[in-house]
């Protein structure tokens, strides 16, 4: 049903556009309003840091101790510097002096400890997984005592859930009642679940933002977002689907900005499945996939076809000279034949009387996933593999991972939930398995390489180990990459200096300007 609605929506947009040519009527050139209007598909469910989906850090209302720059490198946030001692089991962070919260109170080490202690109670925050024994306030900063060596702590602190809020932000139960941060913008109005209005914070320690007010509005339908972008009803519109992108490209006075996201659409494979446990079958399935055609048809960009697991946006991890995953139907058939699979009467391969039938689970939250799933189904059929596609809720994947009933799942995995991809990659290849990563697969060389990286080797050695990780992933195919991901936004010509952060740590609106 969901798919049908999406498809019919795309058709509808095309029809409406056909009915209404010349969407490029003159745009309002005079911007009387000093509010930058942002629209995007996601809703704001809560003020709880872990459940904010990053809205308040992206809008620069709240800040974290450490942040990430556009290249994903760690950069000072509320902490000016940090250092580790006791072999990475103690970390100290120095707070930037003279910072005030939006309620006028000063940022103290105690306030920062309070915010972090509250959030690490929340199991979903990456902070909850860090081996933190105690966070204590020092004279001018914070001290983390850890139970084990943990070199990625600063990277974990870049996650939006680690935002530092004023003590007055919390109610008696430790829940956030009001979003009181330290950023260049302060909250003017929040109307859950669909709108936020922020205004410039005059006591901000850095350069005052030129844009005085920013409003965010959730617009869940992509068709409506595209129309808003093309008709100057929003200045920045995030996440346009292919039909909407074409519409924006055809409109005057608005430009499409995009960047590769560190996200890969991949097939999560149960590696102890009687059929998929065989590397030959995994390789054959991978060869059967015509990734370029899929990327072209579904994502409308054939360069997004994944040639390896980690996308080029993760520059340190992507290995340009790694032999790419090829599409070769003949070779796939041969591999399957060697593995003992012979064509049955209906064209589906069989072995010992059992047909080669697999189930694939995916979810509609990202509309391209169901479309790609059916494309994978068609590709697999060509080599005699019958895949049954089930489109359901995303949570079915961790649930079926846990009870071991998962065979194949098509997921969009984000590899940089915190600024250092190593944290997510270590989780993805965890030998005990990972909800959104490997399933019943471990490899001693892979584990050694990941552990080696976590131990903080020299840069040269680290590059070598990252190469090992990428190579093993490519050869063993415990996860089968399908496509990379591009995120986009339509930005009005009257906005200058908009930059797109692949990690979405911030929307950097405080650095944007009105075009003169």
């Amino acid at each position: 049903m969901q798919r049908f609605r999406r498809t019919s929506a795309a058709v509808t947009v095309a029809m409406v556009l056909g009915l209404a040519p010349g969407c490029s009527t003159s745009r309002a050139e005079d911007h009387h309003s000093d509010t930058l209007r942002v629209a995007g598909p996601f809703e704001i469910h809560s003020l709880e840091p872990t459940a904010t989906s990053g809205f308040f850090t992206r809008l620069e209302v709240a800040e974290t101790l450490v942040t990430a720059d556009l290249e994903g490198e760690l950069a000072p946030g509320l902490a000016s510097e940090w250092a580790s001692a006791r072999g990475g089991r103690t970390w100290t962070f120095e707070l930037v002096p003279g910072v005030t919260f939006h309620d006028g109170t000063p940022l103290t080490p105690g306030a920062a400890v309070n915010a972090l202690d509250t959030v690490r109670e929340d199991e979903a925050s990456p902070l909850a997984e860090a081996p933190i024994e105690k966070i204590s306030a020092t004279e001018s900063g914070l001290r983390f005592d850890l139970t084990e060596r943990y070199l990625t702590l600063p990277a974990i602190l870049t996650h939006y859930s680690a935002m530092i809020l004023a003590p007055a932000a919390y109610d008696d139960e430790g829940r956030v009642a009001e979003m009181i941060g330290t950023g260049p913008y302060r909250i003017d109005r929040v109307e859950l679940p669909a709108s936020i209005e922020v205004t410039r914070f005059d006591d901000w320690r850095g350069t005052a933002p030129e844009i005085e007010n920013v409003s965010y509005q959730t617009v869940s339908r992509p068709e409506a977002r595209a129309l808003m972008a093309a008709s100057d009803q929003a200045d920045v519109v995030f996440h346009l689907e292919p039909a909407g992108r074409q519409q924006v490209e055809a409109a005057d006075g608005v430009e499409l900005v995009s960047t590769l996201q560190p996200r890969t659409i991949l097939l999560k494979v149960n590696n102890e499945h009687p059929v998929l446990g065989d590397l030959a079958v995994r390789r054959a399935l991978s060869m059967a996939l015509d990734r370029e055609a899929m990327a072209d048809a579904v994502l409308r960009e054939h360069e997004l076809a994944a040639t390896q697991l980690l996308p080029p946006s993760l520059t340190a991890w992507n290995q340009p000279d790694l032999a790419p995953l090829e599409h070769d139907v003949e070779a796939a058939r041969e591999l399957l034949e060697e593995a003992g699979w012979t064509p049955g009467s209906d064209g589906i391969l069989e072995k010992d009387g059992e047909p080669l039938r697999l189930s694939l689970v995916t979810y509609p939250d990202r509309p391209e996933l169901p479309a790609l799933a059916t494309a994978i189904q068609a590709s697999a059929k060509e080599v005699g593999i019958d895949i049954e596609v089930e489109v359901t809720n995303s949570t079915e994947i961790p649930v079926r991972h846990a009870d071991d009933t998962l065979e194949l799942a098509l997921v969009a995995r984000h590899f940089a939930l915190v600024s250092d991809p190593l944290v997510t990659i270590a989780d993805t290849f965890a030998p005990e398995g990972s909800d959104w990563g490997v399933h019943n697969w471990s490899d001693p060389d892979m584990s050694a390489a990941v552990d080696g990286l976590l131990a903080g080797p020299t840069e040269e050695r680290a590059a070598e180990l990252r190469r090992t990780v990428a190579t093993i992933a490519q050869e063993q195919l415990p996860l089968m990459p399908v496509a990379w991901y591009r995120m986009n936004a339509a930005v009005g010509d009257h906005v200058d200096g908009f930059v797109m952060d692949p990690l979405e740590t911030s929307w950097h609106l405080s650095e944007a300007r009105w075009a003169s």
Binding site: T12, C23, H45, S220, L227, A230, Q233, N393, T395
Partner: protein, 290 residues
């Protein structure tokens, strides 16, 4: 009932809260422990009924907001949209239907038929998009999406009203035609009253007695949620709340929404009955006579 739905409740709530990038077994376990989801269903239901007895609807499992304020917020959105849509539909539909009824088979009647067929055949989604393109993108009269400000309600309400106006025109037309053929109307004409007076005094009221219950049914449909239109225009209403509550297995919100909807249906029906009674005094008189 929610427990019978496929999927694990704790995972669903966690996905609602954190977004699926952060959902894993640990997050789900955290939710399960926090909310005591391991308790048997009857204990959880009993707990909710107990709270309800104290007029405490609890907090949303996903957003932590008090259910009362959350459902209240969406309810106001729905009521606003339903009221404006219904009003617009009546304003468009009734005159059309009445005009058509004055000369059944005439040009106006045929045009009305065409109108009815057109607006009924267009899905609300397409109608909404056409309205956005025409009124918002080309003429720049109205904002295309959003919630808040007096103008944002116009497009979603108009989308619903246009679809509804066709049916209202049809029902109004038939009611007026039927009433006009009745004896008392012919008598009024015989008395020498002008067409205008007959229409206003005798036909309108009698036709309204037929139309009002029909409007009541439509009001209930509008209140119960028009998810597609709400989504297209980013209007915050109960339809949206209900769909999310089901997806996220947000039981307190689901229960409260169902409760509010049930109360609303009762309220609308009562209002309709009272209005009909006022419009059509015959049952009262019969009762008085017997």
């Amino acid at each position: 009932m929610v427990q019978r739905l496929p999927g694990d409740v704790a995972y669903r709530i966690a996905a609602g809260r954190y977004g699926y990038d952060l959902v894993d077994a640990d997050a789900a376990a955290g939710v399960r422990e926090e909310l005591g989801l391991d308790r048997p269903a009857w204990q959880q239901l009993l707990g909710w009924l107990g709270d309800l007895g104290r007029l405490d609807l609890g907090r949303s499992l996903v957003t932590h907001q008090p259910v009362l304020s959350e459902v209240g917020y969406f309810l106001i959105g729905t009521l606003q949209l339903a009221a404006v849509a219904l009003l617009l539909a009546v304003v468009i539909g009734c005159p059309l239907g009445t005009a058509a009824a004055l000369r059944p088979g005439g040009v106006v009647d045929r045009l009305t038929d065409l109108w009815v067929a057109l607006v009924r055949a267009l899905p609300a989604f397409l109608l909404g998009l056409i309205l956005i393109v025409v009124l918002s993108v080309h003429l720049r009269l109205l904002p295309s999406a959003g919630h808040g400000g007096s103008t944002t309600i116009v497009l979603p309400a108009l989308t619903l009203a246009l679809g509804l106006s066709g049916l209202i025109a049809r029902v109004a037309r038939d009611a007026v035609v039927e009433t006009r053929q009745s004896d008392h109307v012919r008598f009024a004409h015989t008395k020498g009253l002008t067409d205008r007076l007959v229409l206003l005094r005798h036909v309108a009221r009698n036709a309204a007695a037929v139309l009002v219950p029909y409007l009541g049914v439509q009001a209930v449909v509008l209140v119960e949620g028009v998810v597609v239109v709400e989504a297209l225009f980013s209007w915050q209403g109960l339809g949206h709340a209900l769909v999310h509550a089901v997806f996220w297995r947000d039981i307190p919100v689901l229960q409260a929404t169902a409760l509010v909807l049930a109360l609303l249906v009762v309220a609308v029906n009562t209002l309709v009955d009272l209005t009909v009674l006022w419009l059509d005094p015959r049952p009262r008189r019969q009762e008085a006579m017997s």
